[in-house]
């Protein structure tokens, strides 16, 4: 029997096949799923904010796109994964509320997605697929065995990318 490991908001965890890993109700946050395609070591980060350097109180490294992705990769490497074999899929970064006078906070979803992509590129990890933006929440399930990334949203058919 395999388990479904749960990752909370501003959190990250590792997962190895045959287990799966999930995070529930992503809004403007981004779920970053990475796996080693050979030894099937995987992990999932639920990041809230784009840039750790823009904020004074940044001790929780899982909270930020830049430090969160780097830490996930570091932990995966410590668990035997190799950077060159890693691939990523991402979801989330929605704009849950639309306001006429768009302020920086309302753009945080887009900024999170951009920051995650930038960090993945920096680390040389290929982004295989994404389901990001728009205006709805997402629950994701990731299976490092196959790389399947399942996305559930309210009132929408379940999809796998």
């Amino acid at each position: 029997m395999s388990d479904l490991i749960k990752v909370g908001m501003a959190d990250l965890k590792l997962c190895t096949a045959p287990n799966g890993i999930t995070t529930l109700g992503l809004g403007s946050c981004v779920g970053v799923a990475i796996r080693d395609t050979v030894n099937k070591v995987g992990g999932l980060a639920h990041v809230m904010l784009p840039d750790s350097t823009a904020i004074r109180n940044n001790s929780n490294i899982a909270k930020f796109a830049d430090t969160g992705v780097a830490e996930l990769v570091r932990q995966m490497e410590a668990a035997g994964a190799r950077r060159t074999r890693m691939v990523a899929k991402i979801a989330g970064g929605a704009k849950m509320f639309q306001f006429q006078n768009d302020n920086a906070l309302m753009q945080v979803g887009d900024r999170n997605v951009a920051a995650v992509k930038k960090k993945l590129k920096e680390l040389g990890i290929k982004l295989l697929a994404e389901d990001t933006g728009l205006n709805f929440g997402r629950t994701v399930e990731f299976f490092p065995e196959t790389g399947e990334f399942v996305i559930k949203a309210v009132g929408k058919p379940v999809k796998s990318i």
């Binding site: 529930l24 109180n57 929440g137």
Partner: protein, 206 residues
């Protein structure tokens, strides 16, 4: 007492915030009762500091579907205020306002604009009482509505808190009428506004 620090909230602050929640939500309950022309009771508000991974649980699970009405707070203090309703409660409220039978499933355009109006009126009542209490000018933006998973809706205020700390402060108020109606307020003043609020209330000295 010094500057407000979200990561070091003591008992006095908690009492003040609970009192703000009490008065604000009391006023909101009154306006809701007037709007619906029925009796609305209010429970004693809960003021809680929650870790980010506890937020969903506090609302009955991250995937619990809720209606969130969100407004930006402007004026002497800035930030945001959110009024959250369980999906079922939202249907009941709308049907009472429109004089129709409660429906389920998706909300029609008419129903979503009724929900926004409800949110507008009761958050307005909440902020008015806060304004009267503090002598601060507090206004609100037009409301926006999202009907989605609790986790996704709450990610918006959580991110605001995430910029200053690792916990979210919630002033939570439940309403009940004859049909049990669960609603929550989340007032999110930005950090400088906390100081202004607490100074205006005389909790911290100028």
């Amino acid at each position: 007492m010094g500057e407000f620090d979200i990561n070091n909230v003591d008992a006095v602050y908690f009492d003040v915030l609970r009192e703000i929640g009490n008065i604000g939500a009391g006023n909101a309950a009154t306006s809701l009762a007037q709007l619906l022309q029925c009796k609305v009771d209010m429970k004693v508000p809960r003021v809680e500091l929650l870790d980010f991974d506890q937020i969903g649980e506090a609302m009955g699970g991250e995937e619990q579907i809720m209606a969130g009405i969100y407004l930006l707070v402007q004026g002497d203090i800035t930030g945001s205020i959110m009024f959250l309703l369980e999906e079922k409660s939202a249907h009941v409220l709308v049907s009472k306002l429109m004089g129709t039978e409660p429906s389920d499933g998706e909300f029609t355009e008419m129903e979503t604009s009724a929900l926004k109006e409800i949110g507008n009126i009761i958050t307005g009542a909440y902020l008015n009482s806060l304004s009267a209490l503090t002598n601060l000018t507090i206004t609100e933006s037009i409301p926006d509505l999202s009907i989605d998973m609790a986790g996704a809706i709450l990610s918006v205020p959580a991110i605001e808190f995430g910029m200053v700390g690792d916990q979210m402060l919630m002033i939570q108020t439940s309403f009940t009428d004859d049909e049990e109606l669960n609603g929550f307020f989340i007032l999110v003043p930005d950090l400088p506004s906390y100081d202004k609020l607490l100074k205006a209330l005389g909790v911290i000295q100028e």
